[in-house]
């Protein structure tokens, strides 16, 4: 069902936890749908020096959170904002079709955290000019999964 990479990031997730006094925090999803992702950023000189996450959700929700944090850690804000859900999926060697929404959630969580950082610091991040914080992501579960 899941690739080895997904299982590795699920069983040994990187960057789990919280950052006290984080520079940016983003939370997306909701408990009703069964997945919430919360990402904490530490930013120094435009560089993401630390990132942590907490996730309530299925295996791929946890794995995509872990991978997303890995992909932006040490990157500049400009690079981080370009993270796409496809990049997360690829880095995980793919996700089952009904689980692709988890990667969308991870992308949204990163953006939400960056947006929070921008708000707090009164700056505009290129690529987030038109960003509207959305807590729910609802394109998931196409319901045609074989089982």
């Amino acid at each position: 069902m899941y690739s080895e990479k997904v299982m590795d990031h699920f069983m040994n997730p990187r960057n789990v936890g919280e950052i006290e006094k984080a520079d940016g925090v983003g939370e997306v999803g909701n408990a009703k749908c069964g997945d919430i992702m919360k990402i904490y950023l530490k930013v120094d000189d435009g560089i993401i020096t630390d990132v942590k996450f907490k996730t309530f959700g299925c295996g791929s929700a946890i794995a995509t959170s872990s991978m997303a944090t890995e992909l932006i850690k040490g990157k500049s804000i400009e690079e981080a904002v370009k993270l796409t859900n496809n990049a997360v999926v690829e880095a995980l060697d793919g996700l089952p079709k009904p689980k692709v929404h988890c990667s969308v959630l991870a992308e949204q969580a990163v953006k939400a955290a960056l947006y929070d950082y921008a708000q707090k610091n009164n700056i505009v991040i290129p690529g987030l000019e038109d960003y509207v914080p959305a807590k729910d992501v609802h394109d998931h579960h196409d319901g045609d999964g074989e089982e």
Partner: protein, 389 residues
């Protein structure tokens, strides 16, 4: 070899050795078609008759009231569509419950699109229907009541005899899906007074792809599968003799061992329930505390999601199931958990562990131990948990 503990007996069971042994000759020695009059055919027919007698005996029916099918779902479909279409001149109203198996619910929904009216009875927090609500739901257009015997997710056992009495009084046919009941509680169709009852072989240590239905003598029903004259012209198709033989043997064993089986799994069930309750907080036992399948354990673990729980258990060799949306492949968590009044949030964190004949005390210890660690690990990761700490 890695430890593997199977706690998903309500999903399916391994076949017992005695069952496989009984089936073996029918694959390529006594392989005839039971409709053939030559010796190969007669051997098959004899085996078919014996299996039918065994099923009949297991539930107190006459052999002529037992019909083999290709599984539990086919039998559910047959019962409901067969009664609906054969009796539509009498009425077009069907009563069922909100916690039926999909093989009942989706048939009812299909019938709703085709001119029938269906009432879905509520259940209480334990998953029990309300007999008063049932009585009130019956109209003079009601032709069928279909209420499952034992729920497959939360294990709740319905008052089948009382429902049968109400149905009889009102002259309405009563079907009960007994797929999870056979082999786990005593069944006597005559004493219960039901009109139709169906079973599935692979839930009782028999082969997959075989089921049966009890149709009381005189019940007016159409076939679902038309064709050859098999099963007294009620269910066409070359009989799956090895499968039927295995099912017959499994039913015989199930009845012979019923008391020991129940005692064994109930003890382990209670041990597991206590172990979880005493060691993990923010949990909730789903289903009825006593009117319950002897091997069913179903808990909600707050703040975590069922699939991640299942995957984590799988990594330590434990096989369970969940009613979370992520495992059901639908937008919502299990309709059963919704019907007993759980919120989506809570229902997503459900775990079903079902115990069987091959489960041991040590298995249960191992599960409790691992569950404690896993639930803690997942909660530590959960943004919901931090809020209650």
């Amino acid at each position: 070899m890695k430890k593997r503990i199977y706690l998903d007996y309500s999903a399916t069971t391994p076949m017992k050795k005695e069952v496989l042994d009984e089936m073996m000759p029918y694959f390529n020695e006594k392989f005839g078609n039971a409709s053939s009059i030559h010796s190969f055919g007669r051997e098959a027919k004899e085996a078919l008759d014996i299996a039918r007698d065994r099923i009949a005996k297991a539930i107190g029916a006459a052999s002529s009231e037992i019909f083999f099918t290709g599984g539990g779902s086919e039998a559910d479909n047959w019962a409901i569509k067969g009664i609906a279409f054969a009796n539509k001149n009498k009425g077009s109203h069907i009563i069922t419950s909100k916690i039926e198996h999909h093989a009942v619910l989706h048939v009812c929904e299909y019938l709703e699109k085709n001119g029938f009216e269906v009432t879905y009875l509520d259940v209480d927090e334990y998953g029990m229907i309300d007999l008063e609500q049932l009585k009130e739901a019956i109209t003079d257009k009601t032709i069928l009541i279909s209420i499952m015997f034992v729920n497959n997710e939360i294990g709740t056992i319905q008052p089948i005899k009382e429902i049968a009495e109400i149905a009889k009084e009102k002259g309405v046919y009563f079907h009960t899906d007994a797929v999870q009941a056979l082999g786990n509680i005593p069944i006597d169709v005559k004493e219960l007074g039901v009109d139709l009852m169906n079973f599935s072989s692979h839930k009782i240590y028999g082969p997959k792809g075989v089921g049966a239905i009890y149709i009381k003598k005189g019940v007016k029903i159409h076939p679902l599968i038309h064709g050859g004259a098999q099963e007294r012209k009620r269910r066409a198709g070359t009989e799956n003799i090895p499968g039927i033989v295995g099912f017959g043997k499994a039913a015989e064993l199930a009845i012979e061992n019923l008391d020991a089986h129940i005692a064994h799994i109930q003890k382990l069930r209670d041990k597991l329930i206590e172990g979880i309750k005493n060691n993990i907080d923010y949990v909730r036992l789903n289903g009825h505390p006593t009117k319950r399948h002897p091997g069913n354990v179903n808990f909600c673990f707050e703040f975590i999601e069922g699939e991640s729980l299942l995957l984590s258990l799988d990594m330590v060799g434990i096989a369970g199931s969940s009613g979370s949306a992520c495992t059901s492949g639908s937008l919502d968590p299990s309709h059963v958990l919704m019907a007993i009044g759980l919120t989506h949030e809570i229902a997503h964190g459900s775990l079903r562990l079902t115990i069987g004949d091959f489960t041991t005390e040590e298995d249960i210890d191992y599960v409790i131990e691992n569950l404690i660690t896993i639930v803690d690990r997942l909660r530590q990761m959960s943004p919901l948990y931090e809020k209650v700490k």
